[in-house]
Symmetry: C2
Subunit: 406 residues, 2 copies
């Protein structure tokens, strides 16, 4: 048996492990110090009451023969697919229930969905800085990979036509991608593509026959009118885009697990409909998402559930504001924070990402994430997450200001 | 963008859809008739009380900040991995916690795990009759596929050295497989490999460097001493086998979703450890299984939980006995039923599988699954599932006997 040797091309995924090791060492050496954790992008507030109630009810359903649910529809339960389609409808996006697939979450889906694209013949364009799994999943599948780097000069907003770099060994001069990864609001930068900027990608993808994998995991944090929550708000997207979304950040489902994916009926290449292919993939390779979890997810889309999750999101958004205020006061440049749970800071005084990490940990006990972990154009930047407690975030912001005020 | 054209090689998955359509048409034409459903392999008894309690407790954990769980270990929560390793220990199989991976279920894992094997260079051997997803997942991944057909003459027990057929277009004379699918107790035939028969596969795989994907989803139904529950009860398996297991049939989790996979530390090829590769795959492509569901699964492995699920399994085993008794009395040949929830009947009077289906539906309102749906060597056979209600199963058995008694 020959193993998949593409795995040899993966770099060690040291980012979060490295952070954990450094924090552990510091804490052991300084047991009396409180550490302010603005590092990992995990939520901290519990599930909304409506979701908890729905989960309990669903557990009870599984406890009695009359209400027991066995195998689920592999593509998602009708009740949840309808609820999600209804959610899109409120934003003016018409989807049929069959275009919505329930998943265990965005990261699960971002890996699995690559199976739709031809092995050995697919070029993936990754807009950086980026969530490391885009690159790693593409490497595992043996894709040719191009990267498009953004920076402070363009507000970390990727646009077609910006220079691309060859990541793989390909000698081909043709830099046309087959698959384009776009994440807006972006992890890690918190930057967003407005309607016009996203429309440029749709136009480009349609013109070259590429498919956009649109990661909308942070859409619930958008507050500006001109920023689309869904790529399907853009004309032309139904023939060139797949949208991958998650309840992890929307409703605190990081450990509860549920997400959804939209594949329009019109999306086809070489006469093959990607929606049909995905139905076949799901019915072959899964038995659907847990009934209990799908009932919990359904509650997110009710009026009461919506209201409750908005309260949690408001807490995280206040945290972001608090961090932005401190950076503004200290005269430090950053992007994000407004429509996203991340603030992406330019490290002051020419510090490199990991130097900044060490300084913040050792001097003021604040933990964040070095930008270099998200691609080489992240070097010199630093990500703060707004998912911590309000008290810790406020104190961290105060310390950051004190450290760097001019 | 080029789609994955391997999907074009898939046949329509008409088996269960076809059954559903025929049953629907019959019911509409005969609204007064009760239909006895022994077709699909789905459980009908509710979750065990201990599991239900654990699920409720876990939902409450997610409702409060102090006990809330965010991102889980992608390979499984320690509490569940330990519980599963403890379960193996009772059968004399020593596993380290790191060798156990928690999954959303066997079908999810059987598809995903193919990513460990080199694309374009892997030959899969499928022992038939087989669960259709083995073939379909291999087709999607563009594997060369060989089939090894079993029959009544060998009790539907596959053994190395039996003739293999080329399913793909490969012209290669080398019929050595890289990956071997073995399911024992078998779906659909209910047949099992005893210790000696399974040892032959381990010896063969070790000698040619192949990896066995051992589907143990029905192990909880084994009652004979000489039938291994795990391939790791066989010496030599740690260097050639991956075991994929599920709580779907063990504990009624078909709609609740949880399973586990064992990849031994020693299993390596070309210097790559498959366990390490799978850790990397899970950490890149998933965020783990829901905390709530993992807590429910943990309860299956407690003494009380074990006792309760055994009661459910006993109900299904009584159903199988009832069907076997009717076939014995009518003088009809079959295998399975003893260590499995399936009874695999040779269709009487030379009937083909679908002829048998139509006859049973139209004459005695009994629904089963045509054997031809599980590979061409299933033609002329018919699967009865023991997951129906005891009352319906008893009446179905009576009708089968009346129809075919000599």
């Amino acid at each position: 048996m020959k193993p998949n040797s593409n795995y040899k091309n993966l770099k060690d995924s040291y980012l979060f492990r490295n952070i954990a090791m450094k924090v552990k060492a510091y804490q052991e050496a300084n047991p009396d110090k409180h550490i302010y954790r603005l590092g990992i992008g995990d939520v901290t507030l519990p599930l909304a009451d409506e979701v908890v109630k729905a989960l309990h009810r669903a557990v009870e359903d599984q406890a009695h023969a009359e209400t027991f649910h066995g195998y689920m529809n592999e593509c998602g339960a009708d009740f949840l697919r309808s609820a999600i389609a209804g959610h899109y409808k409120k934003r003016g996006v018409d989807l049929s229930v069959d275009e919505v697939f329930v998943s265990s979450g965005a990261s699960d889906e971002l890996g699995d969905i690559l199976d739709l694209f031809a092995y050995g013949k697919t070029t993936a364009l990754i807009t950086e800085p980026a969530y490391p799994a885009y690159l790693d999943a593409s490497i595992m599948a043996g894709r040719r990979i191009l990267t498009l780097e953004t920076g402070m000069e363009n507000g970390f907003v990727p646009q077609p036509g910006m220079p691309v770099k060859e990541w793989s060994d390909s000698q081909s001069d043709d830099k046309t991608p087959d698959v384009i990864y776009i994440c807006s609001p972006n992890n890690p930068t918190g930057s967003v593509l407005n309607r016009q900027q996203l429309a440029k990608w749709v136009e480009y993808a349609d013109s070259v026959g590429a498919v956009i994998l649109f990661d909308a995991a942070y859409e619930a944090f958008i507050e500006e009118e001109d920023v689309p929550h869904s790529i399907f708000e853009i004309e032309g997207a139904r023939t060139c885009a797949i949208e991958i979304c998650s309840l992890s950040k929307t409703a605190g489902f990081t450990g509860t697990r549920c997400g959804y994916t939209v594949i329009p009926g019109e999306l086809e290449r070489d006469g093959m409909k990607l929606n049909d292919m995905w139905v076949r993939n799901r019915t072959t390779k899964t038995n659907g998402v847990s009934y209990i979890i799908q009932r919990g997810a359904e509650a997110v889309f009710t009026d009461k559930g919506r209201e409750q999750i908005q309260k949690n999101i408001a807490v995280y958004k206040e945290n972001a504001k608090c961090l932005m205020k401190a950076l503004d006061a200290a005269g430090i440049s950053y992007v994000g924070g407004k429509n996203a749970p991340y603030v992406w800071m330019q490290c002051p005084n020419g510090l490199k990402s990991w130097e900044c990490f060490d300084l913040l940990l050792n001097e003021i006990q604040v933990v964040g994430t070095p930008g270099a972990g998200f691609g080489s154009c992240g070097e010199g930047y630093f990500r703060f997450s707004s998912f911590g407690s309000p008290e810790d975030t406020a104190e961290a912001a105060r310390r950051i200001y004190e450290l760097w005020k001019s």
